[in-house]
Symmetry: C2
Subunit: 673 residues, 2 copies
C-alpha cells in the first residue's frame, strides 16, 4: 500500500510538472493518467482487501481480549466499580508473565553486563522534574467536546478526521488529498497554533460536536508532599531521572570508572487525557531503563565484536524520507560503519535488545528498528532508534534507544550545583597548547610593589578569552589594562608576554554522555501475547498461547486422567520437586476429561503437561507422561525425571526435541473430540 | 526495667490502699516505703546504665547509617537537591537485597503454597478507598508550631513531652507520675479531644513554641485522574484493596474453591506528616501482602500439622495487661489449642513468617509476636499478631497478621453491589429447619382468582422475619394481612399455615473471612542490616555484614592478588560461570592489597571471595581460593569448581562446613594488618 500511495503521489507530481509548462505534451499526460488510473484501482482493491483484513484484525483482537480477561491475565482495575480508563490489574498468569519478563531482563542485561541496578522513588519533588524539563514540556494538547464536556487529545481527533476524509475523498483534488495526508502524518508533532488551524481547516469535531480551543495539559500526576500543601510532588513519568540525580554516587560506586551502565525497573505514571488502545496506552506502567554513561568523545563498546555480525531490520531516516518506509536487513557492524547507527554503544544495545525480545518470544518477522526523524528528536539527542513490534494496532514502539548526549547530567548539574562530571586519568598525558601569561616578575615587582603578586595570581587564573584580549591589546597598543579587585593596572609589552605554550595534561574532566535503552514492559507483554496466540487448524475455537518455556507463567500442568486412581502421592512428589526446582505448576484434579485439561492449560500457555494415569500409581511402573504444548507430542518418563526434564528445558540446558528422541513416545487419543 | 516499674506501681498502690483505711498500720507502710526506696534506687541505676546503652545505640546506628550511605545501600532520594524527608533510593547493593528478599518471599509463600499472585495499580479511584474506609479514617492528628509554622504529629509530641516529664519527675506525686505514664502509653490511640486536653495538661510545645489546635490530616497522597479535575485518585496506602476488589475473578480462577490465598508485592504510599526514624517511617515503600480467604466457620489449615510443634515467642494480650510485657515460648499447636491464637490459619501463617524471617537472617532472639490489645484492633478484627523485630529503635512491627473477618468483602460488596460471596457445595446435604408458608391453594384460588398465584409467589419468596410476623398474627388474630404490589390481601388461618419444616440444603453461600499477613519489606531489610552488622574483635573499625548467602546482594567477590599476573582469562571463566549460574559478582582489580579487597567485600556482605593468584594462572595447577566471609577460612579448588561450590551453598544444597571438610585448606596471611 505504501508503495502504491507513493506511486500515486509521484505520477500526480509528474503530471503537475508537465502541465506547468506551456504547450505541454497531452499524449504524455494521457499515458500518465492511464497509469494513475491503474494505481488508483489497485489502491481501491487493496482498500477493499483492507476492509476484510480489518474485520480479521478486529476478530483476532476480540478473541485475545476475551482470553486475557477470562483467564485473568489482565483486567480493568476496580472492575466492580466500573473500572478506570487506562488502569489495568494483572491477574495470576499476567503477573507471573511480568515477573518472569523482569527476571529475564535482569539476567540478560543487569547480570550479564554487570550493570548497577538501583530502585528510586516514584514520588518526585518538583525541583527535579523542573530541571529535567518535564514540568514545562511533558504535555499533550487537548480540546473539549462543547456538548458533552469530554476531553480529547487534539492530535488524535485530527488523525481520525483525516482518516475519515481520506476514505470519503471524492473531490479528486490532488492538493486536498495531499493536505489530508500531510496533516495526518504531522498531527503528533504539531504545535498549538498548527493544531488549531488544522481543526478549522478539516472541520474536526468530537463525535459530531464542535470542539473548544486547544489547551495544554501536563501529563504528570501532581500531588502534595507532606501537610503544608506547599511542597509539590509528581509521580515520575520515567525512571531515568532517579539514575541521573544519583550519578555521583553511581560513579563513586563504580570506582570512578567509565563507561558503566545503571539500570532500573520500576513504575512510571502518565495521566493520559483519554486513554484508549487498551494495554498500549495506560496511566501506570512498569519501565525497565538503562542509562549507559560514556565519554562523549569515545562511544565505542568493549563487547561490540560480539554483535558486529548480528543482523537487524532497520528503517532508517533515509528509508522514511520518501514515505515508502523501506527497511533493509543489515549487520550492526555495517550500520555503524556507514554511520546509519551513530555509534558502537547504540548499535550494541540495539542488538542486545533484539536478542532479548526474540528470547521472550517476539516474532522476528514483526520486529524492526525505526530511526527517529531529525524533527522528531529532542534538540539534544544525537540519534534515536525505536524497536517497533507489529501488532494488530500497527507498528508499536516498545523499546527506545536514544543517545541523549550529556543533556540530563548538564541540566541537573546546572540546577543543583552538584558536580556531575567525570574525571579521567589519561593513560599517557597529552600535550595541549594554551595561552599563558608570562609576566616580567622583576620589573613588575619593582614598579608595583605589594600589588605585583595580586597581578601575577590574576593572570595565572585568567581564562583563555580575556588573555587573548590582553595579548591583542599588547600587540596593537604596546600596553594593556588588567582589571584587579583594587583597580585596573596598566602593563607594557616589556612587562608582560602572552603566548601559546605547550602544557602536559594528565586528567580530563567531562560531563558523560548517556545512551538510554528504555523498555515499555507492558507493551512488550501485550505484543508477546499477540504473537503467542494461535488456533490449531482443526480447532478454530480453542486458542493456544505459544509462550516460550522461559517466560510462560506456569511451567507445569499437573493432571490426573481420572479421579478413580490414587493420584495424590504422585502429585505430592511432583509438586515437591517443582517447588525445589522453582517451577510454577497448576494442578487440575477436576472431573474434566484429560483433553479438556490440556486445552485449559494451552490457553494460558503452559508448555508442559505432566499426566498421572493408572501406570503412574503402579509402583512397578511409576511413570508419567509429559506433553509438549505446541507439538502435542508426548513422552513417558519415570516420575522423578519429569520435573528434571522440564527444568532442563526452561533453563535452556535441554530441548524438547532431544528429550523426545531419548524417551519412549506416548500416543494420546483425545476422546474429547 | 518493665519489671521494676511494675513493682513501683504495685507498692505505691498498696501504700495508697492501706492509707485509705482509718487508723492504718504505719509500720506496714514503713516497710513498704523502704521497699519502694530500693526499687527507686534500682530504677535510677538502670536509668544511668540506660544512658550508657543509649550512647552505645547511637554509635551503632551512626556506624550503620554511615555504611549504608557510603556503600550506596540506601540514600536520601534526590540528594543533590537536598533530599525529601521520608523518601529513599536503593543503590546497587540495597536494590539487589530487596530483589533477593522478594524472590525468597515469592518462593517461600507464593510458589510453595500455590498462591494466586496479582499486581494491581497503585493509582486508585476514590470510590474504592471510600468504601474501604481510608478516605474517612486513614488519618493522623497534627499540630502546627505557631512560631515556625512546621507541622508535627500530635501524638509524637505528647509522647516526647511525657518522656521528658518522666525524666524530670521530682514531684514525688504518684498521681502525677501515673498520669504521665498513662498519657505516654495512650497517646497513639487518643482522639482529637483527648489529645487537646493532654496537650494542655502537660504543656506540650514544639521545641519550646506553643502549638496550634489539633487538626486531622489524611495520610493518602491525593491526585486527579484525567484532565477534568473532577476524578479524585489516591495512591494506595496498602496493596490489599486490589485483591479484595478482584475477589470474584480470583475465586473463579481458583475454580470456585475455598480456601485460597492471593498475594501481591507492590508499592504503597503514606504521606507522613513529619517522617523521622530513617528507613522505618517512609512515604513510599514496598509491601508484600497475602489475603487468605476462608469459610468463616472453618479456619482450620490443611498444612497445620507441619507447624504444630513449631515454637514461637508470644507476647499475648494477657502478657501486656499488667504492663510487664511477659513473653512465653510456646508451640503453635498449644497456642491455638489454648485459644491464645484464634485459629489454625492465623497460627500457620505466624509460623511460616517466622521461618521466612529466620531464613533471610533475622536473629531469632530479637523476634517476637505481639498480640494487639482489644482496644488497638479495628472493631471487625478477630485477632491480630505483629511479628516484631528488635532494632536500635526498639521493637518494630514488621509483619502484621490479622484476621479481618469478612469486613473488606462486605464493604466492597455493599458499595459496588457486586456479589462477592462464595458458594460451597456441601459434601453431604444438611437438614435445616425453616419457616414455610403452606397456603390452602384450593380455597384461596376460589376466593382470589387471578391474584392467588401472585400471593403464592410472594409467600414462597418471603424472608424468615416477615413470615414469622404473619405466623404470629394468624395465631393471635386468626387472620393476617399480606402486602402485595397490587394491594394487601387478608387471609385466614384456614387459608394459610405457617410452620417450621425441615429442608435439605446442599449448597451454602457466605462472605469469606480474610486472614492477612502483611510484610513491610523496607522495615525487614533495615532489621536484616542491623542484625547483620558486626565488627571483628581485633578490628573495631571495619564492619562486616553477615547477610545470608541466600539474600546477600553480591554472591562472589572476584579478586586478583596482584596485577602482575595474567588474571584476565581466569576472571573471564569465572564470570561466565557465575552468569550461567545466575550469581552476582563484584570484581576488584584495583591495586589494593588482597586484605583490603576482602574488607571492602565484607562491608557489603559478600559471602564468598574467589581469589586469583599465580597458581591460578599456572595451567598445571589452575586453582583458586574461596574465602568464607564470617569464618574467614579458605579452601583451594580447581577453577571450574569455584562457582559450583558457591551455587550449591546459595541454593542450600551444600554448606560451607561440608565444603571446608572436603577441599584442601588454604592459609591466608593478611599483610595489611
Amino acid at each position: 500500500m505504501q508503495e502504491l500511495l507513493a506511486q500515486d503521489t509521484e505520477i500526480r507530481a509528474k503530471i503537475t510538472s508537465i502541465k506547468a509548462v506551456a504547450n505541454f505534451d497531452k499524449a504524455e499526460v494521457e499515458v500518465l493518467a492511464a497509469q494513475l488510473k491503474k494505481v488508483k484501482e489497485a489502491i481501491a482493491a487493496l482498500n477493499e482487501a483492507d476492509g476484510a483484513e480489518r474485520k480479521q484484525i478486529a476478530k483476532f483482537r476480540a478473541e485475545l481480549d476475551d482470553l486475557l480477561q477470562r483467564r485473568f491475565f489482565v483486567v480493568p482495575s476496580n472492575e466492580i466499580y466500573g473500572g478506570t480508563a487506562g488502569l489495568y490489574d494483572y491477574g495470576p498468569p499476567g503477573c507471573a508473565l511480568m515477573s518472569n519478563l523482569q527476571s529475564v531482563w535482569r539476567s540478560h542485561f543487569v547480570l550479564t553486563e554487570a550493570m548497577l541496578e538501583v530502585s528510586c522513588t516514584s514520588m518526585t519533588p518538583e525541583v527535579v522534574l523542573k530541571a529535567s524539563g518535564h514540568v514545562d514540556r511533558f504535555t499533550d494538547y487537548m480540546v473539549q467536546d462543547t456538548v458533552t464536556n469530554e476531553y480529547h487529545r487534539a492530535d488524535k481527533l485530527l488523525e481520525e478526521r483525516c482518516e475519515q476524509l481520506a476514505a470519503e475523498d471524492t473531490k479528486a483534488d490532488p492538493a486536498w488529498t495531499d493536505a489530508i495526508a500531510i496533516a495526518a502524518a504531522k498531527a503528533g508533532s504539531m504545535n498549538k497554533e498548527e493544531l488549531e488551524a488544522a481543526i478549522k481547516q478539516f472541520g474536526v469535531t468530537a463525535e459530531g460536536h464542535p470542539v473548544s480551543d486547544v489547551t495544554t495539559f501536563n501529563l504528570m500526576f501532581k500531588t502534595s508532599i507532606g501537610p503544608t500543601g506547599k511542597s509539590v510532588g509528581y509521580l515520575r513519568p520515567e525512571t531515568a531521572q532517579g539514575i541521573f540525580v544519583n550519578f555521583r554516587r553511581l560513579y563513586e560506586y563504580n570506582n570512578r570508572r567509565l563507561p558503566f551502565a545503571a539500570a532500573q525497573i520500576g513504575l512510571a505514571y502518565r495521566n493520559e487525557i483519554a486513554p484508549r488502545a487498551g494495554l498500549l496506552r495506560v496511566r501506570e506502567f512498569p519501565l525497565a531503563e538503562i542509562e549507559h554513561f560514556v565519554n562523549p568523545s569515545d562511544k565505542s563498546h568493549v563487547s561490540f565484536a560480539s554483535v558486529r555480525d548480528y543482523e537487524l531490520v532497520l528503517l532508517s531516516q533515509a528509508g522514511q524520507e520518501d514515505g515508502r518506509n523501506t527497511t533493509r536487513t543489515v549487520t550492526v557492524g555495517a550500520a555503524v560503519a556507514e554511520g546509519v547507527i551513530d555509534n558502537e554503544t547504540l548499535g550494541y544495545f540495539m542488538a542486545r535488545t533484539h536478542m532479548f525480545l526474540r528470547a521472550v518470544g517476539i516474532d522476528g518477522e514483526r520486529l524492526r528498528f525505526r530511526q527517529h526523524m531529525k524533527t522528531e528528536m529532542a534538540h539534544y539527542a544525537k540519534d534515536c532508534w525505536d524497536a517497533e513490534i507489529k501488532t494488530s494496532y500497527g507498528w508499536i514502539e516498545c523499546v527506545g534507544h536514544a543517545d541523549r548526549s550529556a543533556y540530563d547530567l548538564k541540566v541537573h548539574s546546572d540546577c543543583s550545583k552538584a558536580n556531575l562530571s567525570a574525571n579521567e586519568t589519561l593513560e599517557k598525558p597529552i600535550v595541549v597548547k594554551k595561552l599563558t601569561a608570562v609576566p616580567n616578575r622583576g620589573a613588575l615587582g619593582k614598579r608595583l610593589g605589594g600589588q605585583a603578586p595580586v597581578l601575577f595570581a590574576a593572570l595565572a587564573a585568567m581564562e583563555e578569552a580575556p588573555l587573548k584580549a590582553i595579548a591583542d591589546e599588547l600587540a596593537t597598543a604596546g600596553q594593556a589594562t588588567v582589571a584587579l579587585e583594587a583597580g585596573a593596572v596598566t602593563v607594557t609589552k616589556d612587562e608582560l608576554t602572552v603566548a601559546e605554550r605547550e602544557q602536559k595534561v594528565s586528567t580530563v574532566s567531562y560531563l558523560p554522555s548517556v545512551i538510554e535503552p528504555s523498555f515499555g514492559l507492558g507493551r512488550i507483554i501485550y505484543s508477546m501475547l499477540e504473537h503467542a496466540m494461535y488456533a490449531r487448524p482443526d480447532d478454530e475455537q480453542r486458542k493456544v498461547l505459544r509462550l516460550t518455556p522461559l517466560v510462560a507463567p506456569v511451567k507445569i500442568g499437573l493432571y490426573n486422567v481420572t479421579s478413580s486412581i490414587a493420584y495424590q502421592p504422585v502429585f505430592a512428589a511432583i509438586k515437591a520437586a517443582a517447588i525445589r526446582a522453582g517451577l510454577t505448576y497448576n494442578e487440575d484434579t477436576s472431573k474434566a476429561s484429560i483433553g479438556r485439561k490440556y486445552s485449559r492449560g494451552d490457553e494460558i500457555g503452559i508448555p508442559f503437561a505432566v499426566t498421572v494415569d493408572p501406570e503412574s500409581c503402579d509402583p512397578a511402573k511409576a511413570v508419567v507422561t509429559i506433553r509438549e504444548r505446541d507439538s502435542m507430542t508426548q513422552i513417558q518418563v519415570k516420575i522423578p525425571e519429569a520435573v528434571e526434564i522440564v527444568r532442563g528445558i526452561v533453563s535452556g540446558d535441554l530441548t524438547w526435541e532431544a528429550a523426545y528422541e531419548k524417551y519412549p513416545k506416548f500416543n494420546f487419543v483425545d476422546n474429547d473430540k
